[in-house]
């Protein structure tokens, strides 16, 4: 095998090894849920544990020269068989194609190394309020995964809402037709701040069904007498549901905050 064939294998195996080890570290440190839904943790951990010895074995075999020829290297020739035309044109086209492929391969290698290094060196973190805004916190896209029977029962006040998260309340507020049943309900919710207009902000959480790519922001409007915290600040809001002073909004209820407590980011920043 040539040097470039080997380096392609080293890149592939090295990135597998790095990502698998980092996955295992994330799992040990309890931060795997920053990237994926805990539902898939076990599967991910098991396959990461398989990948580590496989990658090491691959490295050893490739180093000893038993590896497979990487495909990109001897591509020309076959491709040119079907070309008709002056010989030098064919050659020039082949050269141009090889050059393009080399550049693309280089870019792919750079992306691979860059993302792998970023994954290992930068501390894992949550998505920011910027993404929440861009994915429209206020749109009524999220259907209720907690079951709509709760809405009907709420009037009877027997339902225990103390375990409800931002997702549950946001879904409830969107679904219910009789908002008067909810006005005055005491809530205590934690989320981060997406700023709104004068004295209002949206208390937001991301909901993850698979991994961070599908993160869907959910939020409840908060009206406060005090100062609005900074964007991305995590807060615990205590207050009661009230009619939304902004009549034009889709959401007809907001939280009238009695207290907005600034807190550190919780260990489980996402809802599922």
């Amino acid at each position: 095998m040539s040097w470039s064939e080997k380096s392609a294998s080293y890149l592939g195996l090295g990135s597998v090894l790095a990502v698998a080890l980092c996955t295992l570290w994330l799992a040990l440190a309890g931060h795997l849920d920053l990237y994926i839904n805990p539902r898939y943790s076990v599967f991910t951990i098991v396959l990461a544990a398989v990948a580590v010895p496989a990658a090491v074995a691959g490295l050893v075999v490739v180093a000893r020269g038993h590896g497979h020829t990487h495909e990109d290297e001897h591509e020309h020739g076959h491709e040119d068989e079907h070309e008709h035309g002056p010989r030098h044109d064919v050659e020039r086209a082949g050269r141009a194609r090889r050059a393009t492929r080399t550049v693309l391969g280089g870019v792919a290698a750079l992306v691979t190394i860059g993302v792998t290094v970023a994954m290992l060196v930068l501390p894992p973190t949550t998505l920011s309020a910027r993404t929440a805004q861009q994915r429209s916190v206020d749109s009524a896209t999220l259907s209720n995964a907690t079951g709509s029977q709760n809405v009907a029962l709420l009037g009877s006040t027997n339902v225990d809402t103390s375990e409800y998260g931002v997702k549950d309340w946001a879904a409830l507020i969107r679904q219910t037709t009789d908002t008067s049943a909810l006005v005055g309900k005491e809530v205590r919710l934690t989320g981060f701040v997406v700023p709104g207009e004068d004295g209002a902000f949206t208390l937001t959480r991301f909901v993850i069904s698979c991994c961070a790519v599908d993160a869907q922001p959910v939020g409840i409007g908060v009206v406060t007498e005090g100062s609005v915290p900074d964007e991305d600040q995590w807060v615990t809001v205590t207050g009661a549901l009230a009619a939304n002073p902004d009549q034009s909004s889709d959401a007809r209820l907001v939280i009238r905050a009695a207290d907005v407590e600034r807190i550190d980011q919780p260990t489980d920043p996402y809802e599922y």
Partner: protein
């Protein structure tokens, strides 16, 4: 490439993996010493891009590894002729059975690329491998279960997804089989490798062959996976999702919007049903079904992965056929259901 060259094992030959291991260990050391979580001071755009790209890689890697392991099993460990014996001989029923093989493999789309490569190196025709490639991510036990969990056994979404996946796979397989020279749809280098692999004597040391295969497949798949993840993340950061989502109620536009969303989000087919569920209240069922049919077959991550094996002309063909099919199914459902 199965037999060992006679070159002696010099210590020099171990410097390569030594350096790779050293780099990985050094980076892990940085990871262990620096704070576990927190802001790195990067601008939000860049930080979110990295978080999204890494999450795609973390989510996809297990499936890619599983796919490579299964492809090694198919190529190196399953005896010659064992798989071929149980398949029908005539092309159409043969492809129909192959499209159902996915039921046995809980692998989503990214793992199916290495698996389909393994099948072709075993001697399957491109048409058969493509049929498997399109069918398996939809007709697979985990996908069916997760779709059922999300949407229930009743309703049209689950049956239309399953039947639609079967039909589109055999349709694409039939088109490829009808192609003048199907092998022209493959990258020449991969085709050459298949030609060399088919009929070659099986390796004596199967474990070493397996490890070598793992190295070769990761060399091809990993850069593609990272590029796919980077593209998916870049699109997520650059294009506001709200513009797509705001057209949910229109029966025609909402199908297009959901297909576009599926192609840009690049979710794994094992879990895309739960994501689609979050749009169920605003989008019509046909649009959701179009999302669930197109997503496993073609998206930006898959395009990067498929480019390791297929020429661009095949990707164009696949995209056009699948978009037309999924769009038609979605529209018909929106109108009828």
């Amino acid at each position: 490439m199965t037999s060992a060259p006679t070159r002696p094992v010099a210590t020099r030959s171990l410097t390569g993996p030594g350096l790779v291991l050293l780099a990985v260990v050094a980076l892990l050391g940085v990871r262990l010493l620096s704070p576990a979580v927190g802001a790195s001071g990067l601008p939000n755009v860049l930080q979110d891009f990295l978080t999204l790209a890494i999450s795609v890689v973390v989510e996809s890697l297990p499936f890619v590894v599983l796919g490579i392991v299964l492809s090694i099993v198919v190529e190196v460990w399953v005896p010659v002729g064992a798989l071929e014996k149980v398949l029908p001989q005539r092309p159409m029923p043969r492809r129909a059975v192959i499209s159902l093989i996915g039921m046995l493999f809980p692998v989503c789309e990214c793992g199916n690329v290495p698996l389909a490569r393994g099948l072709m190196m075993r001697g399957f025709t491109p048409a058969e491998a493509v049929t498997f490639l399109v069918a398996a991510p939809i007709l697979n036990p985990l996908v069916i279960i997760s779709t059922a969990q999300a949407f229930g056994w009743s309703g049209w979404i689950l049956p239309v997804r399953i039947v639609g996946g079967f039909v589109i796979a055999n349709l694409v397989g039939w088109i490829v089989a009808a192609h003048r020279r199907p092998e022209e749809l493959l990258l020449p280098a991969f085709e050459a490798r298949c030609r060399a692999a088919i009929g070659a004597p099986r390796a004596r040391n199967r474990w070493r062959e397996s490890a070598a295969q793992f190295g070769g497949e990761t060399a091809t798949m990993m850069p593609a996976l990272f590029v796919g993840a980077g593209l998916a993340a870049a699109i997520q950061v650059a294009v506001p999702r709200s513009t797509l989502v705001s057209i949910g109620a229109n029966p025609v536009l909402s199908v297009l919007a959901m297909m576009l969303l599926a192609m840009t989000v690049s979710l794994c087919s094992n879990v895309d049903a739960f994501f689609a569920l979050s749009f169920a209240s605003t989008f019509l069922p046909g649009s959701i079904t179009a999302f669930l049919i197109i997503g496993p077959i073609i998206d930006v991550k898959m395009i990067a992965l498929l480019r390791t094996t297929f020429r661009a002309r095949f990707l164009v063909l696949l995209a056009v056929v699948c978009v037309l099919f999924a769009g038609m199914v979605g529209l018909v459902m929106n109108v009828l259901v």
